[in-house]
């Protein structure tokens, strides 16, 4: 509970300071928030249910391509129907996860890692080869952000607030989920799946539902991602994108939701800010991966919680 208040306080400060920040900083912050949504969805799977997925970028990709195709081929989603696209993007992410989940949920541990990796690569393969739909390696260029009755999302500050809104909504939704009985049973599955089964829980179904929900939020992140960048390409769905998402959660602290946001901040900072300052930023990135794993088992949040995982 306390962490929630701290988070809200921090975000409030950021939101208040935003109009005074440089435009590039606002862009970076928006990035952090969108990736934060994605990271939270990964945290749901990893931190709470104990399922490490190497293919979550697939759902971001589905949401993003969906948005882009609707916008460019059908001119849809550029006004108030943008909100409809959000819902549809989440549905698309959920549907994909529902389909993939049928293959993936039977596995666990390493095998789950592998199968989600493979599924992610399938999506990449489709994005890359299905030229007529996805534009192939050129990707799809968005023609501009939506205008909602005069509210121009093309204005970066406005878009930032919109993204912030979606982040908060996602955060609270997920918070509600993990503190519900369903959420608690997910943690139970993570800790002692066998026991849960003995107790009569349909663990497969629980895991499956978590997987689908994660896919939905991944799709949401994808919709925002498409508008944030103005372009969607197969690069968004590559393996490193999924690995980054995992890192964000592990770095920030699995099982905390907030950890996802913290991790996203660090990774975005490294990739997009440090990279502009020094050429050796990739060493730092690699080192962060390595050091986090070795010395921060509970992530950054673990430092605050005094080691409670």
């Amino acid at each position: 509970m306390r962490t929630t208040w701290i988070l809200l306080a921090v975000l409030a400060i950021v939101a208040a300071a935003a109009p005074f920040a440089g435009p590039f900083v606002i862009l970076l912050l928006a990035h952090v928030l969108v990736l934060g949504i994605m990271a939270m969805s990964v945290d749901l799977l990893l931190g709470y249910t104990g399922l490490p997925s190497l293919g979550q970028a697939a759902y971001l990709g589905v949401g993003a391509y969906f948005t882009a195709i609707l916008a460019t081929k059908f001119g849809f989603g550029l006004g108030w129907d943008f909100l409809l696209v959000i819902v549809m993007g989440m549905a698309a992410g959920a549907a994909t996860a529902a389909f993939f989940g049928l293959f993936a949920i039977r596995a666990s541990g390493v095998y789950f890692l592998m199968i989600t990796l493979a599924l992610g690569m399938c999506v990449w393969g489709l994005a890359y080869r299905w030229n007529s739909l996805t534009g192939g390696d050129n990707g799809i260029n968005m023609r501009g952000r939506p205008v909602l009755s005069g509210i121009r999302l093309a204005d970066d500050l406005t878009f930032f607030y919109v993204v912030l809104g979606f982040f908060l909504a996602s955060f609270f939704a997920l918070r509600l989920l993990v503190s519900s009985p369903f959420g608690k049973s997910l943690v139970g599955i993570r800790e002692r799946e066998l026991r849960m089964r003995i107790l009569g829980y349909n663990t497969w179904l629980h895991k499956y539902i978590a997987f689908v929900i994660a896919g939905a939020f991944g799709g949401l992140a994808g919709v925002l991602w498409a508008h944030l960048n103005g372009i969607v390409s197969p690069v968004d769905v590559l393996l490193p994108a999924s690995v980054d998402a995992l890192l964000m959660v592990v770095l920030g602290g699995p099982g905390t939701l907030v950890g996802g946001l913290i991790g996203a901040s660090v990774v975005v900072f490294l990739r997009d800010y440090l990279a502009t300052l020094v050429p050796w930023w990739q060493y730092v990135l690699g080192a962060v991966y390595v050091l986090t794993i070795l010395y921060l088992p509970a992530g950054i949040m673990g430092l605050f919680k005094g080691g409670r995982t």
């Binding site: 990893l46 490490p52 190497l54 049928l102 293959f103 993936a104 039977r106 596995a107 541990g109 390493v110 095998y111 890692l113 592998m114 199968i115 990796l117 493979a118 599924l119 690569m121 399938c122 990449w124 393969g125 489709l126 890359y128 080869r129 393996l239 490193p240 690995v243 995992l246 890192l247 592990v250 050796w280 990739q282 060493y283 990135l285 690699g286 080192a287 962060v288 991966y289 390595v290 986090t292 794993i293 070795l294």
Partner: protein
């Protein structure tokens, strides 16, 4: 068809190391591609310094094996069995290696040229078969057989198998499982590096190659069965042939045709075709 087999041979070199590491240590080694690439780079340095390709093979492989050993000893060992952490750790190293390779060798596409003896082709019944590809198949078979022999027929092999089957029991019987793990990891890196040198004539050596070969290596290991050498052999052959035929027959689905079967196999038999759990 011959091409499929020779491609499969290369994959076997790449995948055998990966499957051993996984089989024995349950480590998901995402830096395996980096070892492959670094093997190629070290070989290039050796060739530039000595002009000898034959010398480059063992030197590159041993250097990378040593590197793998260090990584395992210092970084992986403390982690214990935790697939997620291993993934992230090995990815971190892959990034570090990739950047270092870029800084040391530059980003040009390099080629490892085998001695001219191996560069010709022989004509067999109307087909031109490059000798180098025959060499690749031969080498893969030789390595496969020696590994199999070592595993099945030697005492060390028995120790390895015991560690794979049940590490605790193995320790109970007095086998130094940590030494075994170390050895296997080094061997895996050795094989990957060897693959890099051999493949370097074929694929070229350039930054990004590490992450390109990685998913394919995993596909082979998964399809064939993690931890099983025979599985790696079967998997490499299957993937090599499927890749060949897939590309010739269904070019649109090129990438898809690799990963979709992987998903199906994993869904049905998570341990792969010949894997054991």
């Amino acid at each position: 068809m011959f091409n499929g087999v020779s491609y499969g041979a290369l994959l076997f070199l790449l995948a055998s190391g990966l499957t051993l590491i996984f089989g024995v240590m349950r480590i998901v080694n995402l830096s395996h591609g980096a070892y492959f690439l670094l093997g190629g780079y070290v070989a290039i340095t050796v060739i530039r310094a000595t002009g000898s390709w034959v010398l480059a093979l063992p030197i590159a492989a041993l250097v990378i094996a040593a590197l793998g050993l260090l990584v395992e000893r210092i970084f992986l060992r403390p982690l214990g069995f935790d697939p997620l952490r291993q993934v992230l750790l090995t990815v971190g190293f892959a990034f570090l290696f990739q950047q270092a390779a870029l800084d040391i060798w530059g980003g040009d596409n390099l080629i490892i040229n085998p001695p001219s003896a191996l560069s010709a082709s022989i004509a067999v019944g109307g087909l031109h078969l490059p000798i180098y590809r025959i060499f690749m198949i031969g080498l893969a078979v030789a390595i496969g057989l020696s590994l199999w022999f070592a595993m099945e027929r030697t005492r060390i092999g028995a120790m390895v198998r015991a560690t794979v089957d049940d590490a605790e029991m193995a320790r109970g019987v007095g086998i130094d499982t940590s030494k075994v793990s170390m050895m296997i990891f080094a061997l895996g890196a050795f094989l990957a590096a060897l693959g890099g040198v051999i493949g370097g004539a074929f694929l070229g050596i350039y930054p990004g190659l590490d992450f390109e070969v990685l998913p394919i290596a995993f596909a082979v290991v998964i399809i064939g069965g993690m931890g099983s050498l025979a599985g790696a052999a079967v998997g490499s052959l299957l993937v090599g042939l499927a890749d060949n035929f897939g590309k010739a027959l269904f070019p649109e689905l090129a990438y898809f045709s690799l990963y979709a079967p992987m998903v199906l196999i994993l869904a049905m038999k998570p341990t792969g075709l010949l894997g054991r759990e």
